[in-house]
């Protein structure tokens, strides 16, 4: 599935300035696309637009497969979304969460059972699949959060800071797992503040600041163009080192 983002602008109700201005990007099959930027740059807003949580005020986001534009329903069946928040029911077990979200993705009961077994095995959750998730550690919750988003084997997976607040082992497992998914053909769109992680994972990045895309392309090309040795120095060179504190 291709995603074309053309001239997209967005402003939240009661805000005076656009959160996103004239965004133009293209996400192609096989990409691991990193949306990076300081706090308030507009990363989460852009992800929200891409997964259909909010609608652009200007511009178009087109989802297509084999040059055919997808309907909203088809798009929703073809994407997976892992929000920053824990997007499941902590009162239920992983198995019960998979059963519910799998059914919402129109998966059959047997498909849900088979895929959830596989995912729990790969993500090291097999021993706790029947325990209530309110008792889980942050890392376990992140892994279940991720697993629910890929239960239906989407073409594109959107991840909003998937490794925030987890231990090193869980972070390593998640990154390794994402690489595996990408090798099997799943495109990944990803936001993070962990630049080393993004450097390891992404084949293309877009750096956002103040609602605009400052630069985009492959990391090697961007580093060469700006004479920087790594992603962090590129990031600081382009966005500055001033604090970006935000109030709610």
């Amino acid at each position: 599935m291709d995603i074309g983002i053309h001239g997209v602008c967005y402003r939240y109700p009661n805000e005076v300035e656009d959160t996103l201005q004239n965004i133009n990007l293209r996400i192609e099959p096989g990409d691991i696309f990193g949306l990076l930027g300081p706090n308030g740059a507009g990363k989460t807003t852009l992800i929200s637009l891409l997964v259909g949580l909010i609608v652009p005020m200007e511009g178009i986001i087109a989802y297509s497969r084999d040059s055919q534009v997808l309907t909203t329903a088809a798009m929703r069946s073809s994407i997976g979304y892992v929000p920053q928040e824990y997007a499941f029911y902590p009162e239920l077990t992983p198995r019960q969460n998979f059963a519910y979200f799998g059914a919402m993705y129109n998966l059959s009961a047997s498909d849900i059972a088979q895929r959830s077994e596989e995912l729990m095995e790969v993500l090291g959750l097999a021993q706790v699949q029947d325990k209530r998730m309110s008792t889980f550690s942050g890392g376990m919750k992140r892994r279940v959060n991720l697993a629910i988003g890929i239960l239906h084997r989407p073409d594109v997976l959107f991840l909003d800071e998937p490794t925030v607040g987890v231990d090193v082992q869980s972070k390593y497992a998640i990154v390794r797992f994402l690489k595996g998914l990408n090798r099997n053909g799943m495109a990944i769109v990803y936001t993070s503040h962990h630049l080393a992680e993004a450097e390891e994972l992404c084949n293309r990045i877009a750096l956002l600041d103040h609602g605009k895309v400052i630069v985009q392309g492959t990391l090697s090309r961007l580093l060469a163009e700006h004479g920087q040795r790594d992603l962090q120095s590129l990031f600081l060179a382009l966005t500055g080192d001033a604090y970006r504190d935000q109030t709610l």
Binding site: G52, L53, R76, A87, F88, L92, A103, G149
Partner: protein
């Protein structure tokens, strides 16, 4: 209903598998909420039981139990004693006679010794009654054209007794006690008037037969509770309280369901659902269905306790109305009204705290206005008008029509119409709010 109608459009897209999964999820969430479950089942059961026992006891105080009455009889004549004999014989009072107490002591007795009521009969009680009897008798002699003593027509001081009561007693209760004492005093006074008349007219026959005829209550009151049925169903504390507090419990699910909806709206799972090929109507519809079943189960549980347990613990057993169809309709509509209101609160509230506080307070207000605690007919006129806006009032009306009056479909028509309207308004509010938030 609007949610349901909109849902029908989605139902073609929603397969049974999705609906089953959604219902199962709601059931599991409910099952995991043990505090919410106890609030919905144990709390109302306790409430119904406690309120019924208390009201039953209050009725028994007035009808079966004897009322403790401290008496200080200082009457120099015999009428005070006669009055006390009559009060004792009535079986309504447990007299504690302490003639050594002065009137000034009675206030202290009530304040310091936990007595509830006291009666002081003054020294001049008989004297005053006799003067009063003489006045009445003299008036009769005058009007019959017979010789009379004009001086007897002037009554210097009316006879009186003093009644002291603890201010914690309800006003209507103390009035009832005073009315009973007054009735027996009238009895004593009438007896004296007859004696005086016989004496003044020099009738030599004993007046006992006339006294017996005049003083006995010769007109009986046959009381009937208005009812369509012929079963002779008698209103009692159980028939009043079980439906009333069951309705309160059904609506109080706003605390559990309202918070459940808010939680789902503000947590990440809802964000994820919005990106999925499904509709939030399915979520709302599943909640509605599960909680309507919960409300019906509340009714079944509480009413079963009323029918099968109350009789065994000294309370009146609950009598279920014979009109099962109408009964089922009122239960279903009341459940739908309670669930729709809870969902409305859930979609408008911005936090759990808001849903809990507003939901609980609004239900308490609706209950107060709706006649759950105090019947609406005793309220001021403007409050009676306001009470019409309480859904609990209409639910209660529906249950009372069936449980107390054995009413028919025709008697229920306004109740059904109002409840349908209320459910419709709530559903419209839910739909508009979800639409405003671009959730549907």
């Amino acid at each position: 209903m609007l949610t349901a109608i909109k849902l029908c459009k989605h139902i073609r897209k929603v397969n049974i598998h999705k609906l089953t999964a959604s219902l199962k999820k709601e059931f599991l969430l409910l099952w995991s909420d043990k505090a919410g479950l106890s609030l919905m089942f144990a709390m109302p059961l306790l409430l119904v039981f406690v309120i019924t026992v208390i009201q039953d006891s209050a009725l028994k105080v007035a009808s079966e139990n004897r009322v403790a009455l401290l008496v200080a009889n200082h009457d120099r004549g015999s009428s005070g004693e006669v009055l006390l004999d009559k009060l004792q014989a009535s079986g309504l009072f447990e007299l504690s006679v302490q003639n050594e107490l002065e009137e000034r002591d009675l206030n202290g007795e009530l304040l310091s010794k936990g007595r509830l009521m006291a009666l002081y009969i003054p020294e001049t009680f008989t004297e005053g009654l006799e003067k009063s009897a003489r006045e009445v008798s003299t008036l009769m002699l005058r009007d019959l054209g017979m010789d009379y003593d004009p001086k007897a027509l002037v009554l210097p001081v009316k006879p009186s007794v003093s009644f002291y009561f603890d201010p914690v007693l309800q006003e209507n209760f103390t009035y009832s006690i005073q009315s009973i004492i007054r009735a027996y005093m009238t009895n004593v006074e009438t007896s004296l008037v007859i004696d005086r008349l016989y004496a003044d007219t020099e009738i030599e026959v004993s007046p006992d037969l006339l006294k017996e005829k005049m003083l006995s209550n010769r007109v009986s009151i046959n009381a009937f509770a208005a009812s369509r049925g012929k079963s002779g169903l008698q209103p009692n504390s159980t028939q009043h309280n079980v439906p009333a507090w069951t309705i309160f419990a059904m609506f109080f699910m706003v605390v559990s369901l309202g918070a459940n909806v808010v939680k789902e709206r503000i947590n990440g799972s809802f964000l994820r659902l919005k990106t999925m090929p499904t509709s939030f109507f399915l979520v709302i519809f599943s909640k509605m269905l599960v909680y309507v079943v919960v409300a019906v189960l509340q009714v079944a549980l509480i009413f079963s306790i009323g029918v099968y347990v109350f009789g065994r613990i000294g309370l009146h057993p609950l009598t279920i109305p014979a009109h099962y169809g109408a009964f089922a309709m009122v239960v279903l509509l009341s459940s739908l009204a309670a669930v729709s209101y809870a969902l409305l609160i859930g979609v408008f509230a911005k936090s759990n705290e808001q849903a809990n506080a507003f939901g609980a307070i609004s239900i308490v207000l609706f209950a107060a206005l709706g006649g759950i605690w105090v019947p609406t007919f005793v309220m001021p006129d403007f409050m009676q008008v306001i009470s019409k806006f309480s859904p609990l009032q209409w639910c209660l009306q529906g249950f009372y029509i069936l449980f107390l009056k054995e009413g028919s479909w025709d008697d229920l028509k306004w109740v059904i119409l109002y409840l349908l309207l209320f459910v419709g308004v709530c559903q419209l509010g839910i739909y508009l709010k979800l639409r405003a938030e671009k959730l549907v």
